[in-house]
Symmetry: C2
Subunit: 386 residues, 2 copies
């Protein structure tokens, strides 16, 4: 897909940083550890209105970052990861809304994470970085919102692990969240999702270069991280989407190689995705972020066992979206959430979108998704203004 840099895109944007919890202060983590100073890399798009009532906070998934839309320069070949949704006149209209997106705590795209320098040692944290939770990520995002002077967020929006943060926002700071759009997400990871994450972590930790997380001055655990990413990519697709996309088509040959090269296109695709990922992602961040996602459980944190009780704290208007072929966060998990929201009398819209592309569907061009996001935001914005 081609994006017109001058027209439909937000154009050239800049990554900014926000530092907080500076000594003698520290951020108190859910694990009980303290951490500080902390930096969040973030980007903004559009303008905050005078009433500060048009802010939208976008929360990214595992491999995302603060660069949700636009280009870093005139000759940047690729736009941000959700440029199809965020921009002038798009589903999340930057002519109308002030969009904020920050790299998550524990990440490796400018925010403090295991690859950052530990001020106590002058060396990268590695495994000395405390285990973060989705709640910790949200606490850090709240500090950024405070810094920007935003007291009420028109909408918090995110898919997958970004969706976990959306849900956490609604229960941790209910009075701040006017509306919320959790996409392709879940109130808690299933055993299947934990299993996939655990095997991916084991692949990283099996790489001798991982060296118990201490590899920043030497060879990186690229082979292990590549395998972890390949596992992820399988879970982002679906049986059907892989059948359409690859089937049993062979790669550059008419017959089998009869060796262990990539014979099938799906094999080349996975190898390519794995090798590309290691160029831009830190293996320790992969461990920390997936662990945070596995720990996430609204019913554990906010009321023992009851999703209905957990959502009794929420005040937001919700648009919940799931996708038919998503087997990582299947529709039944969204429906359980919706049921609990309804029992609390919340203002809730739910949409299961017919899509072949598995979990990845929330990131792909989808007119229906764009329309419902746009319509929902317009409604809550108008209701807020009136």
């Amino acid at each position: 897909m081609e994006h017109d840099k001058s027209g439909v895109s937000v154009g050239v944007v800049e990554k900014k940083v926000f530092t907080f919890a500076e000594p003698p202060n520290e951020m108190c983590m859910e694990s009980g550890s303290g951490l500080g100073p902390l930096t969040l890399a973030y980007e903004t798009y559009g303008n905050l209105n005078h009433e500060k009532s048009n802010a939208i906070l976008i929360l990214h998934a595992l491999s995302g970052d603060s660069h949700v839309a636009g280009y870093y320069s005139e000759d940047d070949p690729r736009p941000g990861w959700w440029d199809i949704m965020v921009g002038p006149g798009k589903g999340i209209d930057t002519n109308k809304y002030f969009v904020v997106c920050s790299n998550i705590l524990g990440g490796c795209m400018g925010s403090t994470g295991p690859g950052s320098i530990n001020p106590k040692t002058g060396k990268p944290f590695g495994l000395d970085f405390p285990v973060v939770t989705i709640g910790d990520m949200v606490t850090a995002q709240k500090a950024l919102m405070d810094q920007l002077g935003i007291k009420r967020i028109l909408s918090v929006v995110g898919g997958s692990i970004g969706g976990l943060q959306v849900l956490e926002w609604c229960l941790r700071y209910p009075e701040m969240v006017v509306s919320a759009i959790p996409l392709a997400t879940t109130p808690k990871h299933s055993a299947l999702t934990i299993a996939f994450n655990e095997v991916a972590r084991q692949a990283i930790m099996a790489d001798p270069n991982w060296n118990k997380g201490d590899y920043y001055n030497g060879a990186k655990p690229d082979l292990g991280l590549a395998v972890a990413r390949m596992i992820g990519h399988i879970t982002y697709l679906s049986d059907e989407s892989m059948r359409h996309k690859f089937g049993r088509r062979l790669q550059d040959r008419s017959d089998f190689s009869f060796n262990f090269d990539a014979d099938f296109q799906v094999e080349s695709y996975l190898r390519y995705q794995g090798s590309k990922f290691v160029e831009r992602f830190d293996a320790n961040s992969f461990l920390y972020i997936t662990k945070a996602a596995d720990y996430f459980d609204l019913t554990r944190r906010y009321d023992s066992g009851s999703l209905v009780k957990a959502f009794s704290r929420a005040m937001a208007k919700f648009l919940v979206v799931s996708f038919t072929s998503d087997w990582l966060y299947p529709t039944y998990q969204s429906k359980a959430m919706v049921k609990a929201m309804k029992k609390n009398g919340l203002d809730i819209s739910f949409c299961e979108i017919e899509a072949d592309w598995g979990h990845d569907a929330f990131l792909l061009p989808n007119e229906r998704l764009t329309d419902i996001v746009k319509g929902f935001l317009e409604r809550v914005y108008n209701e807020t203004e009136s």
Copy 2:
């Protein structure tokens, strides 16, 4: 489950070996390579009748072996892998039938495989072992049947990769197969199944101990093989079975560890399965067997693109069984097979069994499965005798 060694089990059995394709002969492989001499480890249960009309050939899946039932000694703690199905009075009744099971070519449980000594070098083959196909495995099994004097096999039976061999038997040696029971299997691997196998292979090959397959005199690629096995175990279960079996239950603790230990029971289960597997399985065999399974495609080998044409060669009576929660070889793949068989006017029974346990269901106790296998075998045996 407790098995009574004296009564319902076949009791103590012995592993035998059969060697063939001895110099100057070689077995001609589908890849064009020649291989010989070859050894198959096999076991037999019950007695071959005078007419040699009661032979059942059981074909094992990835991690199975020739030891389908019974015990190797009086104090052997565990019976063979399908003892619940094979034995006196069981689904496959060894009082009535003569059961044969051999370890597949390329395996590591007594049959010739990549860990065997290459007669040309005096060292283990490693990657010098030719890539085998499901067809090659069946060719070797045919040699064993010839050796045992069996010209007509009452039934060839197997699940998963064993099921691929069942289908191959029916098209490669149609006149020899009276009936066939392919369980939880497919006429060709989907892109999803190839993807899982490829990532598992990549995990093995990423282990530096793998050393391009040359590790038999040093440290083995145990960490890589363990990750490969963990990936496999996820695919053998299902979202639902994992939810029942593990849910989000924690392992020996009431709260999270806030480190990278196994917090959840599902994590411990996978780690345990991985570490147990490396004690008994050869990493190169894992590569060869999964590659053979990925290559398998009845429509490619027997008629370009058409499953109907492929099955026009078959003469067997079929009992096809799939399981509702099997997402590795889902029911729609069995149904495609059944449709093609029906179009050829074959005698076919198809049963989709309601089971929560995913792909693994075919190996678990299931009264319905036992009953239909037993009933089907009785019918074909009676029809053959009459």
